[in-house]
Structure formats: structure tokens, C-alpha cells
Symmetry: C2
Subunit: 302 residues, 2 copies
Amino acid sequence: MSEALVAGLELGGTKCLALLGRGQVICDRIVVPTTSPADTLGQLETQLRLWFQHEPFAAIGIGSFGPLALDRTRPDYGFITNTPKPGWADTEVAGRFGAAFGVPVGFETDVTAAALAEHRWGAAQGMTSSVYLTIGTGIGGGAIVNGRPLRGFLHPEMGHVRVRREAGDSFSGICPFHGDCLEGLASGPAIAARSGRRAQDIPSDDPVWRPVAGALAEIVAMLILTLSPERIAIGGGVGCGQPHLLSLIRARVATMLADYVADMDINALERIIDTPCLADQAGPLGTLALALAAIEETAGAG
Amino acid sequence: MSEALVAGLELGGTKCLALLGRGQVICDRIVVPTTSPADTLGQLETQLRLWFQHEPFAAIGIGSFGPLALDRTRPDYGFITNTPKPGWADTEVAGRFGAAFGVPVGFETDVTAAALAEHRWGAAQGMTSSVYLTIGTGIGGGAIVNGRPLRGFLHPEMGHVRVRREAGDSFSGICPFHGDCLEGLASGPAIAARSGRRAQDIPSDDPVWRPVAGALAEIVAMLILTLSPERIAIGGGVGCGQPHLLSLIRARVATMLADYVADMDINALERIIDTPCLADQAGPLGTLALALAAIEETAGAG
């Protein structure tokens, strides 16, 4: 059976994508800058309308920056909630597009969408627990557990976990909320603040990578001991652009676990901790995966 | 529809339980000491045989100390694997009882069983993500996500997460693997090593509770930011016996999150972080819940 034609929206802090696709094949896409909700969502809706008039799509998947309200029993379901991004707090997203096109809508964080793409089409296929971490302008994580996105009271906010500090690392961190949480210590802007250079310009043997890898190894070890994932894909600009960083992280995780977890040796860690096999397409493809999941959920509930 | 008659086994480090029950009503139970696998499992099987001959039960649920092999595609599925407990490494458990009685067997860690009981019959009913933490001789955690136990490469080993140290806390920790992991800092034996007294004999205003609550708050905040649970039940001898500890933990978690998670204020934390509503019966009832889940899984796959 060929998969349904679906639409996807990826809402980011500086730009948004609209996609049309069938399975993991993207048929068309446009990019619009993220300005105000009225302008940006309006442009995206106009594009979806053009596609829909040509050939109706069966569902829409939306992966968005957060925080998001994901509890379907609450009146604010489908909203971007208390984001500090000017103009975007309390913006209805899912309901708007569902009402405009009369199709099922899947709505999750951008990183959960990427995790779902890796689970549906990437290296995490068939896994009962898998994680997608992005290390870039911010740090975020999503997980797919027992076939569905992991969420509950809210959704994961893995970038803001407090981690142990590398011995001797006195960098105070740049997170406006928490100072030296993971994002404050190891995001792209944190690396830039530590070194005065952009991550992509820093050689792999520079000492700045040591505390960065240390902080990232803390979250990876912690995820292994709590979510027991079969795979942790580390993407984003920093994650994908620095292959040596993954080696540093794996070695540190192996030391931290100290052979406690059976079979979790460095060889296993090389399989578990890797870049996303969908590379920078995990996020966009994730929106199509969300749309397909919304169709399946509607069918299952019907 | 009345629920099926099922059997449960709870395998602990010093004693084991066998239970017979219907729904959450326990009809009969026995306790046997944990000696050798041949003796202990033999006694449990003899008891199950007596019950079975009187009225056949439809499934068996087993909650066990770990580590356990839970991947059904592997030849060691259903074994207790590399436990340091003398005589118990590489012991087949699930397959043995399944073969003896010809019924479906559910097999998970003891803490996952307790988490499942809270999800089926306790305060976590209907939740998409919920956690059970036990603080006692050791520290362990289980989670139910999207209706099923959380596991993947292995199963959670939450007690061995490394947490930030309380400022000024110089206790070196007692974990033989990791020193100052969570279990090394905040388990019953760690509290005893810190203070020279048993946890239950220490007054609630004793300064020893401060670093213990601090370490536990670290894992709770971390779980909130990764698993986004709607509930974290904290049980076990230390967890259930020290109500003031929960207040300390909640206050510390609120400070750590720094209002980052929407709606996660101290009132929400009072609802989320609590003792298990099944109290010390969460573990035993969890084995019955595992048996019922095994029946449902068999029916779903058939």
C-alpha cells in the first residue's frame, strides 16, 4: 500500500518549512521566515491551500519550537504556550490548521518529530525506546517509547537538565533560566561564549571540547540509565558537524557507567550513540511522520 | 467482566513472594527466603502447582531484582543475568515458569512491576508517563510510558545516575560501582553510613537529610525534564517512612526548575511527587498486573 499524501510544517525560531510528501519522499517544500504568527502561519496556510486544491492531503504534521500544550483534554491543546519568543506566546497552531483543512493533525515538538522520523524511517526502526538529541542554538531532546512520542505532564525539556560539572570547568553557563544547565554549558552559543569562536571554526583538538563533551556525556549516561534507549541520535549543527565530539562522548559515557550495565561496552555505545541517519532531514521528515501517525491514530480510534 | 485468576512472583534479595489474585484482590500469598535459585524457585513452583491444581490460573507475572534480560528476541530472554548475588547470575526464570504451567508470563524488574500496579490500580491510572522510585536498601526506578513498561537496550537503572553534589557534601558515597551515584549518596545504607544511624531513627530536622534530599531532588528534576511524568511515586522503606523528605524534595525541585516548565509550580509538584497510593503493596500487586498485561498482550498478538 502506498502511503497517503500528507503535509508537514516545521516551525523554527528563525524560519519555518511547509512540506508536501508521500511516505518519506518530499514532493514539494517552501521556506518562510518566522516573523509574527499572523504573517508566518498565514503564509504557511496559503501554501497548504495551494497544495490542497491541487490534490487534497490526508493529514498535517506539525513539529514546533516549544513549549507546547499537548494534552488533548485541555482547552489550550495545540497551542505554543509561554515561549519567550516575542509575539508567539499563547498562539493556537494545531486547531487552526485542523479547522482550515478538516484533516487530522499531529502536533509535537520539533525534536520529537525528528525522533519519530528516525523511528519510522531511520536507524531506530522497530526500537522500543529511542532518543533524538539536537545540539545547536539550543539543546533539545525527544524520545519515542513503545511506538509513540514520549510526553506526559508536558514534553521533554532535556536541554535544561542540570549535569555534574567537569572538574576545573569554571564557565558559568549562559542559560537565562538556569545558568549552567546542559544548554547553558554545551549549546552552540555556550561553546562560542567559552571560546570566542563559532563551534564550526574550532579545531577538534581544542581544549574547549573537553568540558562540552563532559556535559553531553552526563546527559547521555543519564538517558541510558533512565530511558534505556537502544539508540541516541545526536543531531543539530554542533552534533552533526563535529564527529570527534561523539567519540569523546562515548569514551566518557563508558567510563561513567563503569561496566554496570550488562553488555553496554564501548562497542555497544558506538552503535547506540550516533548521528541521525536522516541527517538534517530528520526534522522535516518528522513532520510527515507525525501526519501519518495522526492518520493511524484516527483510524485506530474510529 | 471479572478479571482472570492469575499468579504473581516477587523475587527480592532476601525474600520472595508468591501470590494468587484476581484483579487487585490477593486471594493467597506465601513468603519464602531467597537462598539458592534451585531451592527458592523450587519452593515457589511447588506453591504455584498447589494453587494451579485447585484452580488453574491464566498467567504468571514476575517482578524480580535485576539485572534482567527482557529482549524476547534473544536466547537469554527471561533470565536474571549478571547479578552480583551469589549463585543467581544467569538464572532462567520466565521460561521455567512458562514451561511448567503453559501460561503467558510477564517478566519485568520489581520496580517496573510496582510502577505498573500504580498505573493500573493506583494514582497513575490513565497517565501516559508515570514513574515509580524506590528508596530503600537500594534505589531503583521503573516507568510506564504509553501504557507499557519502559525498557529498551536493558531496563532503567535509575539508582545509578550520577547527580550533582550538594555544596559542601563531602560524603564519598557507598556504591561499589560508582561511589557517589544516587544510590551511593541517598539509599538507606548510604544514610546509615553518613550518620551512623538507621534512617528510621533519624529525626526529621537532622542535617543529614539535607544532602540526601538534594541528591533525590536532582533525579526527580531530571526525570521531570526527560520523561515528563504526570506522577512520580516515591516508595521503599526510606521513601515511604519519611514524609518530611518529600517536602524537602519538592521544594528543591521547584528551585531547580526555576519556573522553566509551564504550570510546574509547587502545587503541581505536590500532586506529581507523592508516595505510592498502593503503599508497600505496589510491588506484590505489580506482579498480578504483569500477569494481566501478559494475557492482554497474548490476546492482542493472537
